[in-house]
Amino acid sequence: MTVAVVQFGGSNCDRDAVRALDHLGVDAERVWHEDGLPTDPDGIVLPGGFSYGDYLRAGAMAARAPIMEEVRDAADDGVPVIGICNGAQIGSESGLTPGAFTTNASARFQCEPVRLRVERADTPWTAAYDEGDVIEVPIAHGEGRFEISEAAHADLVADDRVLFRYCDADGNVTDAANPNGSTDNVAGVLGERETVAVLMPHPERATLPDLGRGTDGAGILRAFA
């Protein structure tokens, strides 16, 4: 019984995720995608990186890897699944969550701390926070702009499935606080189940106290604790 951190060719945040989970007392192990999921995993992390060199579209190739069928089945069974950065791109490409993550409005790779407003506090990913809390977590992506059709966005909002929005220090959701041009400042969304989530920012980079940043991201990974 462990959390499986799925490693694709080109994943590069898999070790960071395992370290962060270890720090929180969560048993986690890296799983090479070709080996398939372990039996009855406690949870699944799709980590950040550049799987398959971002060929075609970020996450497009990994989303079609056979292990993702196992991940979707596990998600349907209620196993907690989180996609982080490239893992978020893989999650949306594989249909785990709605919308798509595509080229930043700036057309640049952006690596910087951002602030997120917690939009839901009643999910496993946000139980450590209160609704409206502002947390600081870094981003590092070139394709993080959340795009979604108007109709699907309306459904997303109506179903209250936006988990995090980019905001300023006071929690105001503004264009200036939107680092990449995401629709409605969306930084992270829930799947059909609250146990499935994706987000572009990196909670595993804001969990270990010795990294010189805050530890605001730890609460997200505590979903597995």
Partner: protein, 83 residues
Amino acid sequence: MTAYTATVTVRLKRGVLDPEAETTQQALERLGFELSDLRSADRFEVDLDAADADEAADRADEMAERLLANPTIHDYDVAVAER
């Protein structure tokens, strides 16, 4: 069976921001070119054998649906020619 080339063109839906195209347009303008707009697209040329052109187009269409395009942001079209 006949040999075909199916050309799949994948482009962003109108209205979806294309920062790479905007940057490319700015670079062209910096070089002194005058243009009113620029759009980019990905083109895939798929060689395949099929019973007829319709079958070749159907298969290329499914490739676009399942991998080459992301329906959230893309439109695509398929053109088939004998090879």
